[in-house]
Subunit: 184 residues, 2 copies
């Protein structure tokens, strides 16, 4: 659709995420982002005419990326089990230290409305999962547990040990009916 922007926008978005992670979500200022991206503040405001637009773009890019990644993982194992693909992708995402989407906190502080696209995205994804998962109870429990894992990563609660974490993931995958093997 759009003719592949010259990566200035992407550089800025990445810089914003970096600043939020490293300087804290409360210190995501335009100056800081511009510095981090290696461009001037004027240049930043040329690409994103307001801070609000920047935040919006951050959310949208995140959603696009996640959606693409999900499609990829799902296709890679023959479009058999969407829930298990969702779980595996989410777990993977939670392990990348570089991810740490703490820019979300900046967005909320700026204006909670920025999360609206995220909400509808989540709701739609859940509907999709519901349509494709026979066991509603298992879906509910695993979906919420993944949401919990995401939350704990975001807040950097290090409540679980590595083994506990692994045991959890195994349990979730088996609840999701991975490998055509349905437990209990």
């Amino acid at each position: 659709m759009k003719p592949r922007k010259p990566n200035s926008r992407d550089k800025i978005l990445a810089a914003a995420a970096d600043v939020a992670r490293e300087a804290g979500p409360g210190n995501l200022s335009l100056d800081a982002v511009a510095n981090r991206a290696g461009i001037s503040k004027g240049g930043l405001l040329y690409n994103f005419p307001s801070k609000a637009k920047l935040m919006q773009a951050l959310v949208e890019q995140h959603l696009r990326d996640f959606d693409n990644a999900l499609e990829e993982v799902h296709s890679a194992d023959g479009r058999k089990n969407l829930l298990s693909a969702y779980i595996r992708l989410s777990v993977e995402e939670c392990q990348e230290t570089e991810a740490s989407a703490s820019w979300i906190f900046s967005a909320i502080a700026e204006d909670p409305e920025f999360l609206t696209p995220l909400k509808t995205f989540k709701r739609k994804l859940f509907e999709r999962l519901k349509a494709k998962t026979p066991d509603l109870k298992a879906l509910l429990v695993t979906y919420l547990a993944i949401e919990g894992l995401r939350s704990m990563t975001l807040f950097e609660f290090h409540t679980l040990e590595d083994e506990e974490r692994q045991l959890l993931i195994d349990s979730l995958l088996s609840l999701a009916g991975a490998d055509s093997n349905i437990a209990r």
Copy 2:
């Protein structure tokens, strides 16, 4: 210990939570809190010599309240099943619209370090649960699911319908304590 402070402090704390909820976590300013509490900014800074102290107190009070409530619920049913008490309390907490601890976002924006007490509290509570719950897998899954529920409440993702929510809760409680059934 302390001779029951004249509830100015409590009033301020409550006001802070209100402001965060109503004006958004990014607009939790000392002026706003003072206005809301019906005292002057000077008075506020007398009770909490800095914004940081206010945030800290907010976190500490939350932890104290949760701990007391847990103790109460746990005692009320004969100290039989800590996990199930934890689940019931958390679910209840998530239903109170008045709760909506969005002041947490303000605290994070201010300085992520404010969550340190919360982290250690959670870790300790989890250890306690682990010691008292025979089925580790069930504990992991239910604990994480509750964490997910909390997260969804906090972010106001309304992904689940009421029935789905109820089904989830029933599943979690049955996973937690196979013995007694739930009346609700």
